[in-house]
């Protein structure tokens, strides 16, 4: 007999090897390629002051729902009702703001409108989750049913109450309501203040003169945009959209829960093999129902940010968002079969998708529909990559 044991067969890896083998590495590489490609193709415009703000806005928006979708997928379930849930929540908030609270309970404050809406969406999340765990049906079919149900319900409510499938021209609640400001306003103003402060130092002495040609003026405006200065030589952008803060809170909390808490262990166990999780005392059904509710919560935050940002809502909001959320999760390294994946990967995925979705604004010659071609391609590649990872882990020795 030798001293060799089974565990010797698992090669010890150094820091670099471990990093390269991390499941998020694929998402990270794709993200870096997109960042560089977008910066070059747009002549840097995608990352000037306004470009950054706009890109971060859509990244945060997609990231919020992708986090909800990702946790649910780790637990082994899908939610196709995210998009319609966004439309429903947006409708509910906007209609309450315009027509007041239900049952003639008076004017709705932004916070009350949000809170009542959240109670409803969480109830829907609970209902979806309960149907899935009690019936044992695939969540794909149950949430598909709710996709139609909620889309229809949203439109019906719009027409019944508002005689129209949209609400627009709401007063700007951000001015008077602290809550509305946290949803649709701006955050991290200091970042752009600092940018402007530095930019001002660099641009000292530069000014527009009457003898400049038109192209010289355009060049100068372009240059100043990287210093967060507008053509009147004032500060250009004042802050990120508030949804960035929500994205950070939601993704941060989800990361912490998955990596560090008992609930996180239960989520992984549920998605990996729910029978063995149950045999070990993991409350599988409660975990799943809770995550369907969390997904509904994320959709509601998405909708609320949108309503208070634009002071409007319509029945077509959130179109395709459920599919984008799932695609981001998959590109971020979440296995379709559940039980594996991290929030870090999802954040990379959200950044990649947000940048590509917005690329058309910075690269004028590109057709916006290329976004979907890209999504399709990357999604397929990601599924193959994920499958390889799964086989590597479950292949055994």
């Amino acid at each position: 007999m030798t001293d060799r044991s089974e565990s010797d067969r698992l090669q010890q890896e150094n820091w670099f090897q471990r990093t390269v083998r991390r499941p998020e590495i694929g998402a990270f590489i794709v993200m870096m390629i997109i960042i560089v490609a977008l910066a070059m193709a747009s002549g840097g415009k995608a990352f000037n002051a306004l470009g950054l703000k706009n890109n971060v806005a859509i990244i945060a928006q997609l990231g919020i729902i992708a986090t909800g979708a990702a946790l649910l997928m780790i637990a082994g379930e899908f939610d196709l009702s995210i998009g319609p849930m966004i439309a429903f929540a947006g409708m509910s908030i906007a209609i309450m703001l315009k027509w007041g609270l239900p049952f003639g309970l008076g004017e709705a404050t932004p916070f009350l409108a949000f809170l009542i809406t959240l109670v409803m969406t969480l109830a829907f999340g609970w209902l979806i989750g309960t149907i899935v765990v009690k019936s044992g049906l695939s969540s794909f079919i149950v949430t598909l049913a709710f996709w139609f149900f909620l889309r229809g319900l949203t439109e019906v409510c719009f027409r019944l109450i508002n005689q129209n499938t949209n609400v627009s021209g709401l007063p700007d609640f951000k001015k008077e309501s602290w809550f509305a400001e946290q949803m649709g306003g701006e955050v991290f103003g200091w970042f752009f203040d600092a940018w402007y402060w530095v930019g001002n130092k660099i641009a000292a002495g530069i000014e527009f003169t009457s003898d400049m040609t038109k192209s010289e003026k355009i060049d100068l405006i372009n240059y100043l945009s990287f210093l967060n200065i507008n053509r009147k030589m004032e500060q250009w952008v004042t802050g990120f959209d508030a949804r960035l803060l929500w994205f950070i809170i939601i993704a941060g909390a989800a990361w912490y829960v998955l990596a560090r808490t008992q609930l996180g262990s239960w989520i992984y166990a549920t998605g990996d093999n729910k029978e063995s999780a149950r045999a070990n005392g993991v409350p599988v059904n409660r975990v799943k129902v809770g995550l369907f509710m969390f997904s509904a919560f994320c959709a509601t935050i998405f909708a609320s940010c949108q309503v208070f940002d634009t002071n409007s809502s319509d029945a077509a909001k959130g179109m395709f968002k459920e599919l984008e959320a799932i695609a981001i999760a998959v590109v971020g390294g979440i296995l379709m079969t559940g039980g594996f994946g991290t929030i870090v990967g999802v954040v990379f995925g959200a950044i990649t998708f947000g940048l590509v979705a917005n690329a058309v604004f910075f690269i004028p010659w590109i057709d916006g529909a290329w976004f979907r071609v890209f999504v399709g391609t990357v999604l397929l590649a990601a599924v193959f990559a994920n499958e390889r990872i799964r086989k590597r882990i479950t292949g055994g020795i």
Binding site: E6, S7, Q12, Q262, S265, A269, D272, S276, N280, G339
Partner: protein, 257 residues
């Protein structure tokens, strides 16, 4: 054997409708002993261990643990009484780490459900080392472990969480030769602790001969033979394994075809 029995099964009968799965079964389990439960497919082994681990309830008869009569309404009751069952599928999640599997559903937490990961890593490592695996990385996914190691993980887990009676459901059946021997070694180490009773369910006559102290043979729901290693001669075991049929009869039957 002189050892005091820890668990005793008396006249257990289990009927599923008109079908009698177990008929008047007795079993005596003592700490520090490996009790091999043998029998062909359909002999009632699975039903018996499901009764012992609280999944099924006996139609009649009684179970005593530590001298007290008990009734297990569910697996939780059985676990609380110190019955740890390691099923064939092991109730292990492949994509999760060794530590997360070890503590699955019973994680050590501080306030707000935050995992005490370092402590859990340490315990998982120590408990598995005690019965034979010194694995290097507690964050290693179980999918990368061999079948024998997984078996050891499941056994170590059951012991750590208070099993006094360890029920092993065909622990060697789906493994290669070398891994089978590792599992047998693990079982021996558990036996050597002296405080744990092991019920070893198997098809394999050789394995049972290697480690069992006491045997119970089931056939068609009845105990057709029981006793210590000494009481049963080698030839006897083979006959009982085959459900009481004589080897010579079998040969004759085969020869007739």
């Amino acid at each position: 054997m002189a050892a005091k029995s820890y668990m005793r099964v008396e006249n257990v009968v289990k009927k599923f409708g008109p079908f009698t799965a177990l008929d008047d079964v007795d079993l005596d389990i003592a700490p520090g002993e490996v009790h091999a439960l043998l029998g062909d497919n359909g002999a009632g082994k699975s039903t018996l261990i499901k009764i012992l681990s609280g999944v099924h309830q006996p139609t009649s008869g009684s179970i005593y643990v530590d001298g007290k009569k008990v009734f297990f309404r569910n697996p939780r009751d059985a676990a609380a009484a110190g019955i740890g069952t390691v099923y064939q599928d092991l109730a292990i999640n492949q994509l999760m780490s060794v530590t997360r599997n070890f503590f699955m559903g019973r994680e050590l937490t501080s306030t707000f459900g935050i995992l005490r990961m370092d402590e859990m890593d340490k315990i998982a490592h120590e408990e598995m080392k005690k019965i034979g695996i010194d694995f290097t990385d507690p964050s290693q996914a179980v999918g990368t472990m061999s079948g024998g190691q997984r078996q050891t993980l499941a056994i170590a887990r059951a012991i750590y969480f208070g099993a006094k009676v360890l029920i092993l459901d065909e622990p060697t059946s789906a493994l290669g030769q070398k891994q089978q021997m590792e599992v047998l070694k693990t079982i021996k180490r558990v036996r050597a602790r002296g405080d744990i009773a092991i019920i070893f369910i198997t098809h394999n006559e050789i394995h049972s001969k290697l480690i069992a102290d006491r045997y119970t043979f089931l056939a068609l729901g009845k105990v057709i033979g029981a006793g210590t290693k000494k009481e049963l001669a080698g030839e006897d075991i083979r006959r009982l394994m085959a459900g009481g049929a004589e080897m010579a009869d079998l040969e004759q039957e085969l020869g007739a075809i």
